[in-house]
Symmetry: C2
Subunit: 202 residues, 2 copies
Amino acid sequence: MRKNGLLVVLSGPSGAGKGTVVKALLEQTPQIRLSVSATTRAPRQGESHGEHYFFLSREEFEKEIQGGGMLEYAQYCGKYYGTPKAPVRQWQGEGLDVLLEIEVQGGGQVKERCPDSVGIFLLPPSWEELERRLRGRGTEDEETIRERMETARQEIAGMDGYDYVVVNETVEETVRIIQSILVAEKQKFSRMKNIYEFWKGC
Amino acid sequence: MRKNGLLVVLSGPSGAGKGTVVKALLEQTPQIRLSVSATTRAPRQGESHGEHYFFLSREEFEKEIQGGGMLEYAQYCGKYYGTPKAPVRQWQGEGLDVLLEIEVQGGGQVKERCPDSVGIFLLPPSWEELERRLRGRGTEDEETIRERMETARQEIAGMDGYDYVVVNETVEETVRIIQSILVAEKQKFSRMKNIYEFWKGC
């Protein structure tokens, strides 16, 4: 009796360290796969179809939306971004956990469509650290920094739609916590109802 | 900002291996304490007050019940058994997780009074293994075995009041899973609301 893998959504403000955590989590957790997003923007140098993104035409993307083929989607700067449902379901069916690293807006759509998905919100250790990281990225002017901080503020306000909150003190500790969440989620009574029915029938 | 420890209820039919799991869990998890039950039955050879049980008179026990001092209680063979609230709350306040190894009837009372408690139901690997263990304990007659099986059946029917279900394949794996559940539970959004309020105010 193989069980479906979990659908896990990881969100958090830019500067929380999602990228580093996802990389370490994938390296250290054999049963997790990272979902590949679809987009209508053009590929950049070095990006390949199916690895960094599924590059779709506007028509293809909208056909997927209409056919219910997107777990979530949104438009940024006139381009579509979204999560194709088919590969996610395929992996889950193979018993693999699938990780979606998406923004709060998309996370809300996934929770609505898949109430048994697991939402994890990643926070930086402190507001000061967040600001330091957002500033430290380049030589942007104050206006750009302020915009980034405002976007982070908006993401953080969406934290209440998530099941778990993890403060990213160190990557090692955060990976260990997320792995524990995956182990625990699989033991939830709501996911064990077949076992309950089996034992009740004994 | 020290956080309260968790209140964890572990139940399961006789023969599921609760005793062995609890022993290993306590040895391997420094922040867990095992709650000591109170009873009105007489101490047996080698049992000491406060270690194996709190031995109370019937009057003392009923005074505790009336004062709301019992997290759960029941009568078996005319004697009271229950969980005194004060030591549990004290440990929780110190940031320690408190484990209650109690029956389904008591587990239901705890969940009702403390909805944020964590209920874990332990199952044996199979019905055949359960029967083997219940038979293997001594040289009881068939009638006694049948009664034990019937009691196990009733306990298992109460599984749906628990948050998590763990099949006790091996003690090592079960301890690892329960430790993961404790780690995950502490990251739940419902337990992180103070962090949410803090960040929203930034």
